[in-house]
């Protein structure tokens, strides 16, 4: 299941706050807790945080501007359902395009994410939104739920993106399902 980017319910109140209560979410939250692989991209990441499938929250970019750029990232966790096709430490270029991408969590949560290797991807060169610890994506304890601020679906083909570096998110899940 992929929760895509966009501005669901107009991002009214907070990004993802109302989408989190969309009719499908009751079933989705239960299925995700039961192991269903779920990837939330951008607005989808915000929805996953609002629904408490992932810890923390996403706030307006520290610079207050919408940021749209080809972003260098490092994949720090290549063990999740969505990142198994990468190498841990692999550097990739994937576009980022959001207004509310600043990942925040309390100190205990950040320490827990760091020590348990649950930070899936980190921004390199520039932190585009003021995210704590340069966090671009995280996973839940089981590794089946991943939230990612950049858009891997916009980096699957050189004609339409800066690279095909995002493809790995989708080949990871396809291989996992085929081999299941």
């Amino acid at each position: 299941m992929v929760l895509p980017g966009g501005f669901s319910y107009g991002d009214y109140l907070r990004a993802g706050a109302i989408a989190r209560f969309a009719p499908i979410m009751t079933e989705l939250v239960a299925a995700a807790r039961g192991g269903l692989p779920v990837l939330g991209i951008c607005n989808g990441f915000q929805v996953l945080c609002e629904s408490h499938l992932l810890p923390g929250a996403l706030l307006p970019n520290a610079g207050l501007h919408f940021v749209c750029r080809d972003q260098r990232l490092r994949v720090d966790n290549a063990d999740t359902a969505w990142t198994a096709e990468y190498r841990s430490g692999q550097e990739v270029v994937i576009p980022i395009k959001n207004a509310d991408g600043r990942y925040v969590a309390d100190d205990d949560t950040i320490a827990e994410l760091e020590s348990s290797g649950r930070i899936v991807a980190r921004y390199l060169d520039v932190n585009p939104n003021g995210s704590q610890n340069d966090i671009a994506g995280i996973t839940n304890e089981a590794g089946n739920v991943v939230g990612l601020m950049p858009h891997p679906e916009h980096a699957v083909e050189s004609l339409t993106g800066p690279s095909a570096d995002g493809l790995g998110f989708f080949t990871s899940i396809v291989k996992r399902l085929v081999n299941a």
Binding site: R14, A17, C49, A57, G63, L64, V104
Partner: protein, 85 residues
Amino acid sequence: MRGAAVARVVVDVMLKPEILDPQGQAIARKLPQLGFEGVAAVRQGKRFELELDGPADEAALAEVRKIAETLLANPVIETFEVHAL
């Protein structure tokens, strides 16, 4: 049964103090340029006004607190206060 005063309840939502508020900072930076001196910092929050069907009694206020923590505020990053108008 119209005619009775409508009970209104206010929910104020603020970012937790430890969380950076760039919107508040942008407002604070603008103030001196407008000639307003003496403001050390600005934090921006949200105010919701809820119109109730019945009176704002303790049960209704408890229900509004539940609404606040479920939807109006995100307890991960925000705090809220509820009071009747």
